[in-house]
Structures are given as structure tokens and as C-alpha cells.
Symmetry: C2
Subunit: 206 residues, 2 copies
């Protein structure tokens, strides 16, 4: 059985939704950022990076959302969440998720985690000021160049969809107006109506 370590309001939600989508037999463990549990000896033994999420499998522990999403999809092929038999189509899925992880999420993280990359409070405030512009430029690329509709990759719902949805939860907090990105806004709305999404969020916020 799979076990997901998550914190509410983090990118762990993407994996959580995906576990629901495939109908996996899984359990969850909540990690409190407020109590700094992600840096506890117990959690660092699971994930030495001190980051959320982690996925415990019967073969070992996995971290990094793009890897976890593809893993879940590959373990449950009947759910058809990634085109593993088509190298190019799979690479397009991976490219989108890598962009989310290394560009969009990273830009967002400068709002609250500036200490990862600088020392001074003045730098943190400067980073916070730039978040609407930097995060917004990435959503602009998604809106104008990447999003195909009705799902990220077109007609097929894939592991790109819960990942985009998860980060799109943070748009208002990042100082963006979702109405400036109508495709992303509409996608977010349709995602929020899925029973799988509602179950994952309900568990994380119960």
C-alpha cells in the first residue's frame, strides 16, 4: 500500500488527487509546517531534503512531484494518466510538469521562502514584490503556448491536470487575478468539480 506524506496547501495535493484518480489503495500522513515536522529527525529519515511530499512504496521512498506523478500513472496504467507507450507524447507531459516544478513553483516560492536563496529581509521583500510579475509570466506562457484544452494536454486528462490545478490554488495569494488567465481559470473551476479533487481536498482540510 502507498503512503503519502503531505501538508495541506502544498504541491502534495497533486499527488493526492492522482492517487484518487487511479483508485489507489493508499493512506496519508499529515506533516505540520507550523510544528516544523518536515525537519524532525523522524521525517528527515524518510526524506532527507525536509520537503513535502514523500511517497512510501513497497520498494522504497519517492520524492519530487513530477517523479511521483509519473510513478502513480505508470503503476495504474488502466487510468491512462500518461502516454507511456508514446515517447514524444510522454515527453510533452513531462516537459509541462517539469516547467511547473522548476519555473512556476520556484517563482511562487520566492513569496514565502526567500531565505532559501538570500540572507537579508530587504531581499525577501524585494522577492515578494516580484512574485506577481514572475509567476504571472509563467501563467502567461501556459495560457498562450502550453494549455491545449479542455485539459492541459488536449482531449486526454493526464498527470499535468492535477499539478496545474494544485498550483493554480495559489494565484490570488501570489497577487494574480485568475480572470487574466481565462483558460487556467476555467480549468481550475472544472477541476474543482471533480469528485477525486473534492475528496483529496476534504481529507487535507478536515
Amino acid at each position: 500500500m502507498l503512503k503519502l506524506y503531505y501538508t495541506a496547501g502544498t504541491c502534495a495535493l497533486a499527488s493526492h488527487i492522482t492517487l484518487e484518480e487511479v483508485g489507489a489503495d493508499y493512506s496519508t500522513v499529515r506533516i505540520s509546517f507550523d510544528a516544523n515536522q518536515q525537519n524532525s529527525p523522524e521525517y528527515l529519515a524518510i526524506n532527507p531534503k525536509g520537503r513535502i511530499p514523500s511517497l512510501v512504496t513497497d520498494r522504497g521512498i519517492l520524492t519530487e512531484t513530477p517523479a511521483m506523478l509519473a510513478y502513480i500513472a505508470q503503476c495504474y496504467p488502466q487510468a491512462k494518466l500518461a502516454p507511456f507507450d508514446d515517447a514524444f507524447a510522454f515527453a510533452e507531459v513531462q516537459s509541462f510538469n517539469s516547467f511547473i516544478c522548476s519555473s512556476l513553483h520556484v517563482a511562487h516560492a520566492h513569496r514565502m521562502r526567500g531565505h532559501r536563496w538570500a540572507y537579508e529581509e530587504s531581499s525577501f521583500r524585494d522577492m515578494q514584490r516580484k512574485v506577481p510579475e514572475s509567476v504571472g509570466s509563467h501563467y502567461r506562457l501556459i495560457e498562450e503556448h502550453m494549455f491545449r484544452g479542455p485539459w492541459v494536454m488536449g482531449d486526454s486528462y493526464t498527470i499535468c491536470d492535477p499539478y496545474l490545478f494544485t498550483l493554480a490554488q495559489w494565484m490570488e495569494g501570489d497577487g494574480l487575478d485568475p480572470s487574466d488567465f481565462p483558460k487556467v481559470k476555467d480549468h481550475r473551476q472544472r477541476m474543482s468539480e471533480r469528485a477525486t479533487v473534492q475528496r483529496a481536498i476534504a481529507e487535507e482540510t478536515r
Copy 2:
């Protein structure tokens, strides 16, 4: 035939080496950062993100190094550069490469690309000061928790190896002493002796 858009001294080298490893039929196009070619209309038509690398295939264009590396490996299965038939082992490869992309490379980028995430010169200088610590903490994780030896994933050479090697070129520039990370240093030395690596570097620096 595949066509790789690259700039010398960038993470494009990882894909370049991998194309050499699999014996691909490919060509290269050099993009000059000095001439800001990555933001030219011609290049933005290929990659609207204005980033390097891009890989032109007969199906379309791919970007994002983790996706490109897995794509090349999947197109040339006889080279056995990624364990596609083992979901967990493949996820471990993906997890490592996602970490390189979203944590190690991002930390490094704060040395010269602070303008992506802040406005003020004082912030850029502060970010630069933190690079040895932030990049170093990621190499510490690789050294102590991720690197198995003799290759990143253990006995099998995979798409993790050219990616780690490529970023490890930048250690001294990031203010690190490779001797503090003996596994990474030894790996870099052994990688630099491979004919595939030497051919890719020779072409990029000719």
C-alpha cells in the same frame, strides 16, 4: 533527425552528451547568450520560454531537460539509459533529475539570474553571497543520500549521470571546493574521461 539548440556552458550539455551516448543521428544549433539570441523572434518561435535547450523532433519541439533526457533514453532503448520497464526504478531516476532541475540548478541560477526573482541590485548581490551555501547544501544531499556509485543510480549508467556531470562543471564558479564532495568529484572526473562527453564538449567549445 533530432536537432539540439544549445548554448555552451548551459544545462544543454546533459542532452548533448545523452545524444552521443545513444548514438543518435542529430545536429546542433548554437544559440548565443551574448547576442541575446534566446530572446530573438526566431528562437522564441521554437521555444516561447526563451530558454536553452530545445530539441526539435519529427513530431514537434521538446523543452525542459528532465523531459528531453527521458525522451532520448526512451527513443533509444538499446542504450539502457533509463529503466522504463520498472516503474519504481524509473521514478528514482526521475526524482534525481527533478531535484537537479528544480533545486540544484535553481540555486545555481541565483548567482547570475537574480533578476528573474527580484528587482534590486542589493538583492542580486545578497543572492550571490548565498550561492555557495545553497548550492553546497544540495551537493551535500547528493553526496550523503542520493549518489550510490559508481554511477548516480548505482551499477547502471543512466540519464542522471550526464545531468549531474553538467551541473558539476559549475561547482568552482559557485564558490565550492569539489574536494568537499569526493563522490561528486570522482564522478565528474570519470565522466570527463568518456569519449561521448569529450565529443559533446569539443563540439560546444570548438
